[in-house]
Symmetry: C2
Subunit: 440 residues, 2 copies
């Protein structure tokens, strides 16, 4: 029999619906893979096999009309997202043993759609930059990226078909790139943040991982929902990504290839790979740039991140510095007294640069760029550079990473970027590009 | 013949409609009063009698169907609000001779409703706290308050029936109180701010002055409009205040009397006056308090004001310190390096305290409090304390000041405060209270 854990979520959902196998069998194969690999990959902050199997068996008892779109599918949840039946420790000794009393809204929606929360995946310390224990499944000597380290590695290593991550700088798309999987960082506020550790209300974004584009569409449709408690919740229309996926573009898209401000620090092999890819698209892809003050975008993102991070983590920084790593303490100290006027400037410039991006995308269907500055770095001093991600997080725009490049035998993602709320359009462009690159 | 300048705007509008007098005659009487009093009161930053009369004559030529609700009524415009046909100098030598190329949106709406912009009224330096040249018409040795000094004094002195002001701390309601006129500081973003000097996007609010409640309703209805260029524009429903005024409350309201945090610094005579007033309302008025963290509200307002002020005025502070008064330079220096984390806290606490205010107002129709800490102070070192105003500006809620108290032979306002967007309800409560106090 096939190893069921190797199926992507969409295929597994079909198999479950057809009665080819049970949720329990699917979970068993996923857990077997964890058993085989966990000592090396270390993707899980918490996993209880008996409990996961028990929930899978309960799902198998549901009548067909009780089964949601994610029926029986295991999902890994980044450990800064609250779960009432599992610890949520934020990757920090300050929260050791913390057990929330209620699920985060996105977890509630996953369970309502039939998903089985398989366990909590490793996050870097407080979803910041200090690396975690997780290893890259493609080469255990390399970082899996962060901060959604366990979600990226677990999905890539066939331990779980779907996972939630969060991105404040580059924490969803960079792990997708380093681990060779599909990732979606949606528009700010598309998915509810209630019950997710808050480090920057202007930037924090819940995102998803899968092993196919359709998987991203499937899980996104189930958790894309307004959050009345969150002033940053996206208020525009939410279009089904599954429907969008099913309607291929009638005309090939026009892509704007952006080297971005990260180009100087980009790995030579990665530069060659994305330039070859852009060339191969011929008339469908043109080099482009963004108008001023785009050149300040990394500094502006850093000001917003630093200021809000200092606000939300400042209490710990002052009262429990012993629970913080040197790396995080140093970062906190650097932005702790950032003047408010710089922060306000950074918030205001955001809409100016977004206006420039909207202007550019009036002439193109999406932006094409790398997902990271190169393949996953060797070693564990860093989770890699977010320079290809933080600008898009700052602007609050959707990004999809496709695992379609290989550099030095390691995966590297191709990133597509759209305007706020344009996930459905971006999904159709991503399908076109993904098919084209698969065929090449 | 009556002095037409003594008519309130509502009465003048009826007279114009009935053909009892012309817009030119009304303007002549207003200008005559200015001629008589301007050397003492000094309410105007710019006024051109010939031009004002020319516009009034042009208005008289309009056919009845071309006449708007403010047809022929002179309006004074605070000199931080742009006018394309008059200078707008922000009360600062740095902007001497500045002539905008386009009217502010609120001025456009006034002209569209038929108003005649009579001139620009004196503002304190950059609408901040450094006093202006204007004097209180009730006693020329006393301040008229600020920052909308000329608008308050000009309306009180029968030089103009209506005027626009702006409030970031207490700049609309305090001059209304000190000058003995009616003032409305509406919900944040009810009236468009495009073309108004920006010193704090979270606080700056356009407001209005008149010599009756109906006048406030009349002018507010004409300029209450969404502003798509302004993220702070109020997005809720805008109900006609004239319609609200015409429907007296069927049942007497319940008022929550708040001494507020300003009580300690309040003039003894003012304390006695408002306590007597509250007592006189009997069962219609109860003492109340606001829940924590309301006790921090003055400091939180100051953090938002200081941070945003430093952002918007910071350029001048650095490049043109010579154009700033010592007073303003000292204020700027004090908040220039305010940490962003304190500013973010102040923004976030705002919604918490607003929640407490909503809870309180679930049981009452409005809050009743003083409009200022006492009558206008003697001398010109200060424009008075905004401690009865800045909390409401911070919360973005509507306030109406009624000129119904007298302390030491000077006017003092009674303030009513409601929830965001509840101007119509507040207007009906204000009518009830105003009639009751007039009858007493």
């Amino acid at each position: 029999m096939t190893e069921l854990n190797k199926l992507d979520a969409t295929t597994a959902a079909s198999g479950l619906a057809a009665g080819d196998f049970t949720a329990e069998q699917l979970m068993q194969d996923c857990l077997a893979r964890v058993g085989l690999r966990d000592a090396d990959v270390r993707a899980w902050a918490h996993i209880d096999s008996d409990y996961a199997l028990q929930m899978a068996r309960a799902a198998d008892l549901l009548a067909p009309h009780q089964r949601g779109p994610l029926h029986g599918l295991p999902v890994g949840i980044k450990d800064i997202i609250d779960t009432a039946d599992m610890p949520t420790e934020h990757g920090s000794p300050a929260f050791a043993g913390r057990r929330p009393t209620i699920d985060a809204q996105c977890v509630t929606l996953l369970r309502a759609a039939g998903a089985i929360i398989m366990g909590k995946t490793v996050t870097t310390e407080l979803a910041n930059t200090n690396p975690s224990k997780t290893r890259n499944p493609h080469n255990l000597e390399h970082t899996p990226g962060g901060s959604s380290s366990g979600s990226g590695a677990g999905v890539a290593d066939f331990q779980v078909p779907l996972a939630l991550g969060t991105q404040t700088g580059g924490s969803v798309i960079r792990p997708a790139s380093f681990n060779g999987i599909y990732g979606l960082k949606p528009t700010l506020g598309l998915m509810p943040r209630a019950g997710v550790l808050l480090q920057s209300h202007t930037l924090d974004t819940v995102g998803v991982y899968g092993r196919s584009l359709q998987d991203l569409a499937l899980i996104t449709d189930c958790i894309s929902s307004p959050d009345s408690s969150d002033p940053q919740s996206y208020l525009g229309m939410r279009t089904s990504l599954r429907d969008a996926y099913k309607k291929p573009l009638a005309i090939a898209p026009r892509l704007a290839f952006l080297k971005t401000l990260a180009w100087e620090e980009t790995h030579q092999g990665a530069k060659a790979a994305i330039e070859d890819l852009a060339d191969s698209l011929g008339e469908h892809c043109e080099s482009a740039t963004l108008a001023s003050p785009y050149e300040r975008i990394l500094e502006l993102h850093a000001a917003v991140f630093g200021a809000e991070n200092a606000h939300y983590y400042g209490g710990h920084f002052i009262s429990r510095p012993d629970t913080m790593s040197d790396k995080l303490r140093t970062r906190m100290a650097a932005s702790f007294d950032l003047p408010a006027r710089h922060y306000i400037d950074a918030l205001n410039q955001r809409e100016v640069i977004y206006g420039a991006l909207e202007s550019l995308l009036a002439g193109y269907d999406a932006i094409l760029c790398l997902s990271a500055t190169g393949p996953a770095p060797r070693g564990f001093d860093t989770t890699g550079s977010p320079a290809y991600n933080s600008p898009w997080t700052y602007l609050g725009v959707p990004c999809i990473s496709l695992p379609r490049l290989t550099v030095e035998s390691l995966p590297l993602g191709v990133q597509l970027v759209g305007t706020r709320g344009a996930e459905a359009q971006l999904m159709r462009v991503a399908r076109w590009l993904d098919c084209r690159l698969a065929g090449a």
